[in-house]
């Protein structure tokens, strides 16, 4: 079972501002566990790249983006990274 360390955060639930990185990264750990290491690494690298360029970021790490914006940006990076491999 793969899950973020954080809880359900009722104080910010429904606002669409939760940071999705812990959830996405947990997904990368799931792929690694399933034996899909290159795919797992591509997700980790995509997370690191989006955070390093600081755009888009959710409010907890100093940005103004929504949960979905960050998810979409990381997904786009995954597609771009994998194209080079």
């Amino acid at each position: 079972m793969f899950e973020p360390v954080h809880g359900s955060a009722p104080d910010i639930a429904g606002k669409g501002i939760a940071n999705p990185v812990a959830q996405i990264w947990s997904g990368a750990m799931m792929l690694e566990h399933l034996g899909e290491k290159p795919a797992a690494q591509a997700i980790e690298q995509a997370i690191f790249r989006v955070i390093a360029r600081r755009d888009p970021l959710t409010p907890d790490i100093g940005g103004k983006a929504k949960t979905q914006d960050m998810g979409e940006a990381i997904a786009a990076e995954v597609s771009a990274v994998a194209a080079i491999v």
């Binding site: 079972m1 793969f2 360390v5 009722p10 939760a18 799931m30 399933l34 795919a39």
Partner: protein, 267 residues
Amino acid sequence: MKSYKIAVIEGDGIGREVVPEGIRVLEAAARRFGISLSWTNFDWSCETYLSTGRMMPENALELLRPFDAIYLGAVGYPGVPDHVSLWGLLIPIRRGFKQYVNLRPCRLLEGIKTPLADRRAGEIDFCIVRENSEGEYSEIGGRLHRNTDLEMAIQETVFTRRGCDRVISYAFELARSRKNHVTSATKSNGIVFTMPFWDERFNAIAKTYTEVKADQYHIDILTAHFVSHPDRFDVVVGSNLFGDILSDLGAAVVGSMGLAPSANLNP
């Protein structure tokens, strides 16, 4: 094409918001790497508890068994006590599938501000290996003389040789693929039966990994070192309770709870 069946439990609160983003990214990776992922949603949450009296159905583990992995968001909701969501869902799944390792990486990323001064990306990169099936989180104990001045509560801690050995061995194996260093969280000066036993098992297993550096700290000073010297750690192994506390501290040290992933494994 390799295909995997994933059970999804979004749960409550922001779990419902972050899980779809996780699936979005995993699907992008699956497309690029020629993997097929099929997702099956299970609507198990505190809301389910409020309407049915159970976090998940009685045959939940049987329903989950055919899947290759479980992808969980978060459970917990105001009005439902936390022990209900923990003992009604998380712990039955972790224990039912013998997921005795809870692995929690803590890494300071480029672009993230840590609350610690003068720490740069790459300096903090350690993994917490938490015992996930026994220890302090036991169902052994009870209460007596409720609501009188003789009221009392007892909760037993359970450390088994098998339980200690397998999680400590996992920590050493993990360290071999990282920086060859394992730190044990203990408290054998104050807790005089279980923790000395944990130390004995740690030392016995450490002897079989001569190439891995092994050290141990009492949990009190270890929490201080997490703040003062987080760069010293590689793999930190601890009991259920100590590992739980250390992993939230670790997440805070690397900048945000929102960046901390975890895996419950049955290696």
